[in-house]
Amino acid sequence: MTVRRWCGPRFVLAVLLVLTGCARGQDPAARFDQEGPIVFTDGPDTSNNRQIKQLVKAWNDVRGSDERVTFVELSYATDDHRAQLRARAQDLAVADPEKFREQCYDVVTLDVIWATEFAEAGYLVPLDGAELDVDLFLREPVRAVTVNGRLWAVPWRTDAGLLYYRTDLLDKAGKQVPTTWAELAAVADELAEGDLAGYVGQFGRYEGLTVNAVEWIWGAGGEVLAPDGSVVVDEPAAREGIEMLARGVEDGWIPRTALGYDEERSLDAFRQGGAVFMRNWPYAYRRLEDGNSPVSGKFGVASLPGPSALGGWNLGISSCSTHRRTAQDFIQFLTSKDNQRRLFQTAGFGPTIASLYSDLDLGRQFPYLEVLKHSLRTARNRPATPQYEDVSEEIQEHVGDALERVDSVDDRVEDLAEELTTVTGGG
């Protein structure tokens, strides 16, 4: 009968509790009081005058070498960025954190599309929402980084695609800002001439292409995956969205070189006066408005003629971190209301603190804050599926191929639908 007392749920529970306690650094009180130098990663600081670097410097000036932050810039492209973070997290997953302290990325900036994946893989430390005043933040971005009621990261910048346009060129031609993609295509086609492109976006084979593609698909009334998870990208509306884009390349108002563009290259093209329209994130505003920009004063910002994809970057603490107090303090510093206001003013990053969107001064200073607010409200998430990485890769491959030859659109869309069915385990 001794046997009976060993098995059953109570024993398991006891084991769980003991193990929880024994696991290193798990004592709730001890968890967040270590201070020390930390490494902070984000994408390249492409903001005007390097605002993030300035913030890091401001922190270092005050906190000194005891809590020095070293800023490491990772890749532009979100998939490369994730690849580097994942590889590093995996390498350090079963290692002694003390021994490899310098290799740990204490504070990591995470794209909203893979933040929860990192949480679920055990690469992040769960955070205390109350301590971090998470109620002050926008609801959707917070929800996106909450799993089973636990908060895993703090939203830092939120992003929706915006339409940048040349006010001087539209005025000269007597055109209004388009409110549908079809209108945009028509105006772009009409005004494109010689070295002046009609429209540029992010069409290189990386996550940027997926974002741009879904925006055109949504704009045409289509969708990639239905709410029940079935693949609907081969239905007429979605097909039409892709075809419009491919036709743009064929007819030339989307230049062929744009098939290799990312955010920076398309921004450069528009900034040098090379395009009538550009789709890009909010950060582009400040880069276009700076003193040296050839298009300063000659451009406007509007919502995309359809729903934009919701983007966003969040700050998390890696499990390998041995200086979690400093890490959390630094996160609070970066996401404070003042710093978010400053980052919006100087770098154009969409704030995640709700009250900033009703800040009258800010709105007066930057009328496009209203545009951003509207775009965020109507923005949509990219296809929700645990296999998002694979789904995005398939979209990149097949839409990328379709854009190269407009007469292959039907075949490529069919192929895409097949591949997505396989990849999502549907069909």
Binding site: L74, Q103, E117, S319
Partner: protein, 793 residues
């Protein structure tokens, strides 16, 4: 079907393929539609996966099947080697997700012959024969008894002439049969492409090996399995300090092992496909993949090598070049050597590189657009690389016959071409010493004028593609040339799709270097060992060198590790001999390349005072005439991107100034410089140099172009003596701004030793040469050229 009006005089030879779906008629309407769509897609995709062009084929729907006529120029060997298995695979994919009534099992015939199109469709005795084979009872029976999805029949002719001649096809799986169908009595060959007999391991008799319970002392508590698993997971989770999150939510997959691969542009397309297939091969039975491969394309081998030289820890390396790689796949072993050397030089030993050998091969070839309308005569094959250089030099001045190669900065083929050309030109091993030896910079500069390197942003074949009539010969990899001929745009290049035009491909008889596409495994000393990642790297390597990887690389028109490839339009008859090259100091070659290509602006100042009318003893001409002659010859080294200005000077010669501008440097092409030189003549005035020199320095500085790549220089040809006025002012001006090298070719004696000239040459980094005859002049000009194109001043 035999309405052959006008005979078969207008018929064309085709490979004839026809397919027939088993039991088509027995299905209802909607399912028949699904079958036809599925069949069409499967055939289409099978063609695509085999690298067979669909666009040239003619097809006819036969209701319960299809007829496909493949034009003669498509390799029937490749077709029969690849198509049956690919088609079977595509059908299996279709069947996997189709419901019972929409599944496909197929009969297929492959034959060849003359085919004519008439009002009723495609006809000819060959098509009839093929249809008879397809409808035969023998083939029906084969499919019925098969466990696979496909039964294939070929005519005796086709088997004899194509199948049995192709060693890549295992013709042992073909069986000879007799066919009797309508009036046709003939011999044919059948096989089941996806139903080979796999010898099975004898199964143990069921029941014999039931698991025996091993008795233990006492009885162990039998914890339920889930509790045990939970406990294990908790232990694992515990060490990451994140207990609860270590549990993936039920139904989701665990995060796969991350494998970061950095691949050359040329392999990017095929590698992305292979990475995806490899990932799929690591899936478990829940469909969760075990490895996730991130493929980053290296836009420039040079930047990858530089990043490696910094241990990949430069501030911009991860974001400009890519995530820290676990596998590098450059185009050539030269790049691997360069990377290893960069690591050695910098002392960064955090990165360790290992070359695991080639995954593919591709020879460097010479490709020239075939003039339209020409019969495809084989191009003239050069004997050696020296012949190639000579021909290139001869054609250098003609813009539509000029030779080109890709930039060695952005292309492995460009780097290999640069190495073989420099090696040939210098006739010795390419180490730093050889590249900077006397005369070498000039020689290399000549190479750069003869075989122009493409610029870093565009793709060379793209411009050939867009303007074939205006393009000369290009040195590219065989893979790139084959892609062009088969109508595929180069990976990553912004070319518009093209439908016609071919390259004639050749290579020197003596042999050509091969790009050997090494697999480089990277490990990082300062990170803990990660056995799962190491296993992933090994598995990925195995996949690439295994049958699937090698087949995909062949289809992408690389040669596999044994040197075999698919057939393609314009392929050379024989396999090019491999030219070995010794170890090369790659960074030194790249530096020499930058130097040899440096664009220059040279301001020529020619003394036309009476002192220049002095006759040179052995020539019978004046100093001025000799100088003009020598400069004229040197203009050969001036390329399209260089500029030459010409001033003549003597005291008061230009009115208030001492100089007259014969050719302003902004307009100064080599041709115009030659024309202007012929107008130079002695003025009968006394000499005066320094004010003119000062004016020239100021003019060059103010007109300075934005690019730091352009080198400026002033070349003075003068008597050189009896100059006093303006020296100190000149030196002030020289010191006050950007240094501009000043070279003096002086006819008088004791000029270069004077304090004045030593000061000038020291201040400017130039040189002074006293000359007495033509040979001296030539030597002086050569050393000027060396400084202009020969490395750090």
């Amino acid at each position: 079907m035999l309405g052959v009006a006008g005979g078969l005089a207008n018929a064309m030879h085709h490979t004839i393929i026809a397919v027939d779906v088993e039991g088509f008629g027995a299905r209802d309407g909607p399912h028949q539609t699904k079958v036809r769509e599925g069949l069409s897609a499967a055939v289409h995709r099978a063609f695509h996966h085999c690298g067979l062009p669909w666009s040239g084929c003619r097809t006819e729907d036969r209701g319960d099947g299809m007829l496909v006529l493949v034009p003669a120029h498509v390799s029937s060997a490749r077709l029969v080697e690849c198509l049956p298995t690919e088609l079977a695979a595509r059908l299996r994919e279709h069947n996997a997700t189709a419901d019972e009534q929409a599944k496909i099992r197929l009969k297929i015939v492959i034959h060849s012959g003359e085919v004519l199109r008439d009002r009723q469709g495609y006809s000819s005795p060959a098509v009839v024969h093929a249809c008879r084979l397809l409808d035969s009872a023998v083939l029906r029976g084969e499919l019925r008894n098969a466990s696979g999805v496909l039964a294939l029949i070929t005519s005796d002719d086709f088997f004899t002439n194509v199948v049995s001649q192709n060693p890549a096809v295992d013709h042992r799986i073909y069986r000879k049969v007799a066919v009797a169908e309508k009036e046709t009595r003939t011999v044919a060959w059948v096989c089941l492409p996806d139903d080979h007999e796999v010898p099975r391991r004898p199964r143990p008799h069921p029941g014999r090996h039931r698991r025996e319970r091993v008795p233990l002392r006492g009885r162990l508590p039998r914890l339920p399995v889930t509790a045990l698993t939970l406990t294990l997971l908790l232990l694992v989770g515990g060490t990451t300090g994140n207990v609860f999150a270590a549990l993936p939510p039920s139904g989701r997959c665990a995060v796969p092992v991350q494998l970061n691969v950095n691949v050359s542009m040329e392999k990017s397309r095929v590698l992305r496909d292979l990475a995806e297939q490899f990932e799929r091969s690591t899936q478990d039975d829940r469909g969760c993949k075990g490895v996730s491969v991130q493929v980053t394309v290296a836009r420039a081998p040079e930047s990858v090598i530089e990043a490696i030289g910094r241990g990949w820890s430069g501030r911009e390396d991860v974001h400009k070049v890519g995530p820290e790689p676990h596998v590098l796949l450059p185009d050539s072993g030269f790049e691997f050597d360069a990377a290893v050397r960069a690591l050695q030089l910098s002392g960064h030993d955090e990165m360790v590189l290992e070359d695991w050998g080639p995954i593919a091969l591709s020879p460097l070839v010479l490709a020239r657009p075939r003039p339209p309308g020409d019969l495809p005569d084989p191009p003239v094959q050069p004997a050696t690389w020296s012949s190639v250089l000579e021909t290139a030099e001869d054609n250098a001045s003609s813009s539509d016959r000029r030779y080109h190669r890709p930039s060695p900065i952005t292309s492995g083929a460009g780097l290999t071409a640069t190495i073989v050309l420099y090696r040939t030109a210098l006739e010795r091993r390419l180490d730093a010493e050889a590249l900077s030896a006397r005369g070498a910079p000039n020689t290399l500069h000549q190479v750069e004028l003869s075989v122009v390197a493409g610029d870093e942003s565009g793709d060379l074949l793209c411009s050939t593609w867009e303007h074939p009539g205006a393009s000369g010969t290009v040195l590219v990899s065989e893979k790139a040339a084959a892609d062009y001929n088969e109508g595929d745009a180069p990976p990553g290049a912004p070319c518009a799709p093209r439908t016609s035009g071919s390259l004639d491909i050749t290579y020197p008889r003596i042999g050509t270097p091969y790009l050997d596409h090494p697999f480089v495994a990277v490990s990082w000393r300062e990170l803990p060992t990660n056995p799962a990642r190491d296993r992933a790297v090994r598995s990925f390597h195995e996949y690439l060198v295994g049958p699937d990887g090698q087949a995909a690389l062949r289809r992408a028109r690389f040669r596999d590790r044994l040197g075999d490839t698919v057939d393609y339009e314009g392929a050379p008859q024989d396999r090019p001999a491999r030219l070995g090259l010794e170890k090369v100091d790659v960074p030194a070659v790249v530096q020499a390349f930058h130097d040899a290509r440096r664009a220059v602006r040279v301001q020529l100042l020619v003394d036309v005072s009476t002192a220049m009318s002095v006759r040179l003893p052995e020539l019978g001409g004046s100093r001025l005439e000799a100088a003009a002659d020598a400069v004229f010859r040197t203009l050969r080294s001036v390329g399209d991107r260089d500029r030459v200005g010409l001033w003549e000077f003597a005291q008061g010669h230009g009115g208030r100034a001492d100089h007259q501008v014969l050719l302003s440097i902004g307009d100064g092409t080599a041709q115009r410089a030659r024309e202007s030189l012929s107008r130079v003549s002695v003025s009968g005035r006394p000499a005066r140099l320094y004010p003119t020199l000062e004016a020239a320095v100021l003019a060059l500085r103010s007109g300075r172009p934005a690019s730091p790549e352009v080198g400026d220089a002033i070349l003075v040809v003068a008597d050189g003596s009896r100059n006093e006025v303006g020296h100190s002012q000149l030196v002030e001006v020289l010191a006050a701004g950007e240094p501009v090298p000043v070279f003096l070719i002086a006819f008088a004696a004791s000029v270069c030793d004077s304090r004045q000239w030593r000061e000038i040459t020291q201040e400017t980094g130039g040189a002074c040469h006293e000359v007495r005859n033509m040979a001296d002049i030539d030597t002086a000009l050569e050393s000027v050229a060396t400084v202009l194109w020969g490395g750090r001043r």
